[in-house]
């Protein structure tokens, strides 16, 4: 018998989007998310929600915002803030993007995979911390171009002996959940990359430790056992981060829409905005506002759920 029903087609209407919200299971999650949608007259066409990994709750909704009283961009930003307020991670994607299987995931390094900012640690070792911090602040405020700021800071490191760099490398703390996360991502077929404006001597070490397939970073030049204060070749800045993702994707024969980029800072924004799913991970405000997904917890299962590595997504896809 054919009752003629089907999932609402999510690829046709521009005002439709797929929302994934994930957080620690507790009462009131559905009420919060649907409360926002209802307040602005967005209609929910389809819901699948369930407890996963025993302590997380995930909601996947197809939302029709045709009759929304506010612009879609504003609706999504309000959703992000409401979810953030109650500790929920949120991803909003077009139907097409949601259906497209993700195959490549790249991570920023400093502040995302590792806790420290390597340049600051090097600056401390070289005794130029205050000066470096001043330039960092200028770059953060957008008063100085990222690459220019990086070059200026590296120049200040001139003369630092390699032994001090080794000390810094040894002091680097890798976010403990990342190793497990990368293993699981690779199990489900992801190509994993690190794309950083940071430096090779740390990035390569971290890449090896976590089992990354690709590492793109800036190369500090060493002569006679000391830093020369220069960086070799083309520097990795915001544009080069995206270019690196393109290189990885092309090697796999896929497009940017199949890529996930995870980062926290302004220099990650360019890649976050130009891949299939850009994830702001404990991100700065400017990134939170532009990223299609925002996460503020170290729980790796939340990231897995947000990027669709859960059985519930298969269940949803089957019925679209």
């Amino acid at each position: 018998m054919n009752w003629g029903w089907r999932w609402p087609s999510i690829t046709q209407a521009e005002d439709r989007f797929v929302l994934t919200a994930v957080g620690r299971d507790r009462p009131g999650i559905v009420a919060t998310v649907t409360g926002v949608l209802s307040r602005f007259h967005a209609n929910i066409l389809k819901t699948r929600a369930s407890t996963i990994f025993s302590n997380l709750f995930v909601i996947i909704m197809i939302v029709d915002a045709t009759h929304s009283t506010i612009k879609r961009r504003n609706l999504i930003n309000i959703l992000k803030r409401s979810c953030d307020g109650i500790g929920l991670a949120l991803a909003v994607e077009s139907g097409e993007s949601y259906k497209c299987g993700k195959q490549v995931i790249v991570f920023d390094l400093d502040g995302t995979i590792i806790e420290q900012e390597v340049i600051e640690e090097l600056a401390k070792a070289a005794g130029v911390h205050d000066e470096v911090k001043r330039i960092t602040a200028l770059a953060m405020e957008g008063k100085m171009n990222f690459l220019e700021a990086l070059r200026a800071r590296v120049r200040l490191l001139k003369g630092l002996p390699v032994s001090k760099m080794d000390d810094v490398r040894r002091s680097i703390r890798i976010n403990p959940s990342v190793i497990d996360l990368v293993r699981r991502l690779k199990e489900v077929g992801f190509i994993v990359g690190i794309v950083t404006g940071g430096f090779d001597f740390v990035a390569n070490h971290v890449g090896e430790t976590i089992g990354a397939d690709h590492v793109f970073s800036n190369r500090l030049i060493v002569k006679n056992g000391r830093l020369t204060g220069e960086v070799e070749g083309e520097m990795v800045g915001p544009e080069a981060k995206l270019k690196a993702i393109k290189t990885i994707a092309e090697g796999r024969g896929i497009g940017l829409q199949s890529c996930v980029a995870v980062g926290d800072g302004a220099n990650d924004l360019f890649m976050i905005e130009n891949v299939g799913l850009g994830v702001g991970f404990k991100a700065k405000l400017v990134v939170k506002e532009k990223a299609s997904a925002v996460i503020n917890t170290d729980d790796l299962n939340v990231l897995l759920a947000i990027i669709g590595c859960i059985d519930l997504k298969k269940d949803v896809l089957k019925r679209i």
């Binding site: 299971d25 009462p27 409360g35 209802s38 209609n43 819901t47 709750f57």
Partner: protein, 86 residues
């Protein structure tokens, strides 16, 4: 002791805000939604929600009354099913 669940189904004409209204009543009672499925079929809203009631069995009847009243107002048919024993 295994957890006890209440499955709630609600069916009726679709409009925006239905899940928000129903889920906020459930949240007010402090019950946790563990599974949920919803679809709009030719303009008809169909919702099923599974809530864990083990934490407070004594309030279930109050919740039912409240939901019956609410769904009546919203133009929805509501039904309840107990799972995991009462």
């Amino acid at each position: 002791m295994p957890d006890k669940y209440l499955v709630i189904t609600a069916v009726g004409p679709d409009r925006s805000g239905l899940i928000a209204e129903i889920s906020s009543v459930i949240a007010d009672f402090g019950y946790n939604i563990e599974d949920m499925d919803q679809v709009v079929m030719r303009g008809i809203f169909i919702l099923s929600i599974m809530i864990n009631i083990s934490s407070s069995l004594e309030n279930v009847d109050k919740l039912r009354k409240k939901l019956e009243y609410l769904c009546h107002e919203l133009g929805l048919e509501v039904a309840f099913y107990y799972a995991g024993g009462r």
